[in-house]
Amino acid sequence: MIEPDPYAEEDIGRLLGLLPPAPEGWVRAAQEIPAFRSMLDDLVTRAEADEVFQATLIADLEAAIAQAGYEPEPRAIEAVRRQMRARSDTES
């Protein structure tokens, strides 16, 4: 018995259309995740050694980032906050 052709060319075209490119800015931000992870690791190391810094990190992330010598730009703050959530999810 001959099986029907499961994929006509229009089906292939329709499937290609389901995967448009993600916005470039989103992709770039995701590619920067390792850099922000290094920043978070540094902040955590400092917090473990310094209770005052630890309190700042918990109360005011932006101030903690600046105090540690990084530029407290919004995307850095958001990326570190996101990584803190992921880290907390992983540990729980």
Partner: protein, 190 residues
């Protein structure tokens, strides 16, 4: 050629191994390879609005990066990313609508199903194998929704030949795709 196409074709397992070793280049490629897939699940499969979809997209890759060590089977990165994306999207929907239990939330029925998005990803992988010029042409027409005029200008080909080129490339892609039907895969979680 799109910059996105400049990535090498390492196997998924090799790519994951290099990411785990700290290769920034490998991580960039992993994000490139799965960005459309994650974006489609968030924005089309679950129909999240642009703001929620962007948050979910970043959450997914943040979790993937944080948990790469927990992946049991490196070649199962795609289903693992799919599962992570589904969880992130469901969490986001549940957070926005606390009165609705997460178990009762299903992807938007008007959009493509998650199975269709998986199928689309498999077609996309076949397209990568096909290479240029077909890869670029089909991507521009079907995924980027570019007009014949834009494609003709960008690729420096006569507009009158574009339809026949697309048809020939689709035929090649169909054959390539049907020659590499994927088998079922586990989620890869430990």
């Amino acid at each position: 050629m799109n910059p996105e196409h400049a990535t090498s074709r390492l196997s998924d397992a090799e790519l994951v191994r290099r990411c785990r070793e700290g290769s920034a280049e490998a991580w960039n490629e992993l994000v490139e390879r799965f960005s459309r897939y994650v974006y489609a699940i968030c924005s089309r499969g679950f129909n999240l609005n642009a703001e929620d979809a962007e948050d979910a997209f970043q959450d997914v890759f943040t979790r993937v990066y944080a948990r790469l060590d927990s992946l049991r089977d490196d070649s199962a990165i795609r289903p693992w990313i799919a599962q992570t994306t589904r969880r992130v999207c469901l969490d986001r929907i549940a957070a926005a609508s606390r009165e609705e239990p997460v178990d009762e939330i299903v992807p938007d029925q008007a959009g493509p199903s998650l199975d269709e998005i998986d199928e689309a990803f498999a077609v996309r992988e076949a397209l990568e194998e096909l290479g240029d010029p077909c890869r670029d042409l089909l991507d521009r027409f079907f995924a980027r929704d570019e007009s014949y005029r834009t494609i003709g200008d960008e690729l420096d080909i006569p507009q009158g030949t574009i339809a026949s080129r697309i048809s020939r490339c689709l035929d090649k892609l169909r054959k390539e795709f049907e020659g590499r039907k994927p088998g079922p895969q586990s989620s890869g979680d430990k």
